[in-house]
Symmetry: C2
Subunit: 359 residues, 2 copies
């Protein structure tokens, strides 16, 4: 049984292309009369960006708190707010401007607008039954690949699991990539997020579950990441544009990840750590599992002058270490993708906790 893979509908790329968002919305307005809903990273509250957007008086602007990863609770909360605003009207578009948190929040809220129940009901594969409203992604931070992937990842605190709504309906209909938008991102954050593409792509191509189209896209995305992060300035104009493409291709290539993402998910669940930096900590203790990529990653960090302060898991309680282990080891498919069905022989509880302690 072969998978029928969906592509994101349309993409536009170029420095200054944000100015064409209004044109894209004008086309949507002709198709659907309802208002637009803008999801903005709370970082932009009171900043210039909001003024530059084609927001009309009847539209909604929703600021998404990005201090921690989206949760089933936060997604349910935003869904309630959007529903209260729309009062049953069909929105002409949902527009997400931000990094992975904002994009994933928009994707999940979109599903919940047209499907009954709560966010946690749709964590898994092919659980969404009805198409979401039309959605536009405008990344202001590149690397997660959320703009082209078919998942919206959320933390379920009660179940101690980080899991996505995997569905074709989760995907964006349009991606708009304007490299000007990433010019002012702090360097550390740019690195932590950008390197996510490198990580999920090398995890995919070094795994045992493969798909040849995905391999090709992942190889190209890795190639671009190497050009960017091994250059003198990962944030040059050219490299910021390349990073947008790498993220776009990497999101399309989002196949199965390996050991980096499960350990990273543990950090996000228990320490509420952001995905990008959590990935970096995760790879930083996997010199035995990904020796080549570990070395390359360390060179990239050094070349770009990025810190990863040690000691983040010092002094935790035994219960917290148990939770870190639990929220990592639950991801059996990615772990076996790299390590085979007997992955628990390598990743024993002691082994995993020892890795967290070294971070």
């Amino acid at each position: 049984m072969f998978r029928n893979a969906k592509n994101v509908g349309y993409y536009m790329i170029g420095q200054g292309s944000l100015s064409q968002l209004g044109d894209l919305l004008a086309v949507r307005h002709k198709a659907v009369a309802g208002p637009a809903v803008f999801f903005l990273d709370s970082f932009f509250e009171g900043k210039d960006l909001a003024d530059k957007l084609p927001v009309e008086s009847r539209d909604m602007v929703l600021y998404v708190d990005t201090t921690s990863e989206p949760t089933t609770d936060s997604v349910d909360g935003y869904t309630d707010q959007v529903k209260a605003f729309l009062k049953g009207a069909e929105p002409c578009a949902l527009i997400a401007l931000g990094g992975g948190c904002v994009l994933d929040t928009c994707k999940c809220v979109g599903n919940l607008l047209n499907n009954p129940g709560k966010a946690e009901d749709y964590q898994g594969w092919e659980l969404v039954k009805n198409p979401a409203p039309y959605k536009i992604a405008v990344p202001t931070l590149s690397g997660t690949g959320s703009e082209t992937s078919r998942t919206g990842i959320i933390c379920n605190e009660e179940k101690n699991i980080k899991l996505g709504m995997n569905s074709d309906f989760t995907m964006f209909d349009q991606v708009l990539m304007d490299p000007d938008l990433t010019a002012s991102v702090p360097r550390n954050q740019y690195f932590y997020t950008g390197i996510d593409t490198y990580m999920h792509c090398f995890e995919s191509i070094t795994g045992s579950y493969r798909n040849v189209v995905v391999d090709s896209l992942a190889e190209k995305a890795i190639d671009l990441c190497k050009q960017i992060f091994l250059s003198q300035d990962m944030m040059s104009e050219e490299n910021r544009e390349k990073m947008m493409i790498a993220s776009y291709l990497g999101g399309m290539a989002a196949g199965f990840v390996g050991v980096v993402h499960p350990i990273s998910a543990g950090l996000s669940m228990v320490l509420h750590m952001r995905h990008g930096i959590a990935n970096c900590y995760s790879l930083s203790v996997q010199e035995d599992i990904y020796p080549e990529q570990y070395k390359e990653f360390m060179t990239m960090m050094e070349r770009q002058g990025i810190d990863l302060p040690k000691g983040i898991c010092q002094g935790l309680t035994d219960a917290q270490y148990d939770a870190l282990y639990g929220a990592s080891i639950v991801h059996e498919k990615p772990l076996s993708n790299r390590l085979g069905p007997d992955f628990k022989n390598i990743l024993t509880k002691e082994n995993v906790i020892e890795r967290f302690k070294r971070m």
Copy 2:
């Protein structure tokens, strides 16, 4: 003004995936009650393939003559046949099984089913006004990229020009790639068609009109072509699958071509030569314009044991040489893409005719 680029909707790839065509059609049947129309390369007439297809009694099977390139006349003729069969019903899908000729014929007929007039009325850019019926591409020959590109290229004999219907509506909605389908292609034909990807991709990235996403896809497609054609056997199982991906990515990367395609168009117009082999003859006399690629191409031909018999333009009339020149030089945008606005200083009439004589 940035272009909003459309992607092909869905793709499926894998050895044996043709067996899932019926499932894809079953989904379509639920959406639209009308019959399906299968466009098959006339090569398959009386062969096994037709029996393996999920053709129902109410469906139409149309054999497309592929002895020469599609023309405005041939497309108009097939359109009349399909219209007569459908009697106004909306088809649930048009399915093309073949190489570029069949895929392009299906794309153009699709546009003409829902837009008034003749094929020649839509040769150009953004001339198609109404969406075409749902279309599925099943390549049985890889390389043209027609499965993912937004053009359907046809020869207009009266105007002596080879020009496509460039429109988002021309694109397929679904691509199904089964490498088993290319196992029995004659080696020469496999090479001539496959190398088309290499050619339009290097023409694109060596040109002056660029787009960074297109560049990335083209680079990856070229990389795959090198792996395939510099290997010992371009038709190994693995390489046939790679060739399908290269063609798929190359079609998405279809940006602006350079000097190979215009000279090739001349051969197709005047000598009714097929596109793939015409490209090969074209590059074979451009050692000065593309020195690096010329050398690599010659190595590929040798490695794969491909012939390109000399003397194809010997003994033509002056009128024919004039026509060859005219049908080549008319493509100003691609020619200037490689050679700059003064391309006619290099490609004088004498220079171009001398190249044809050397073929």
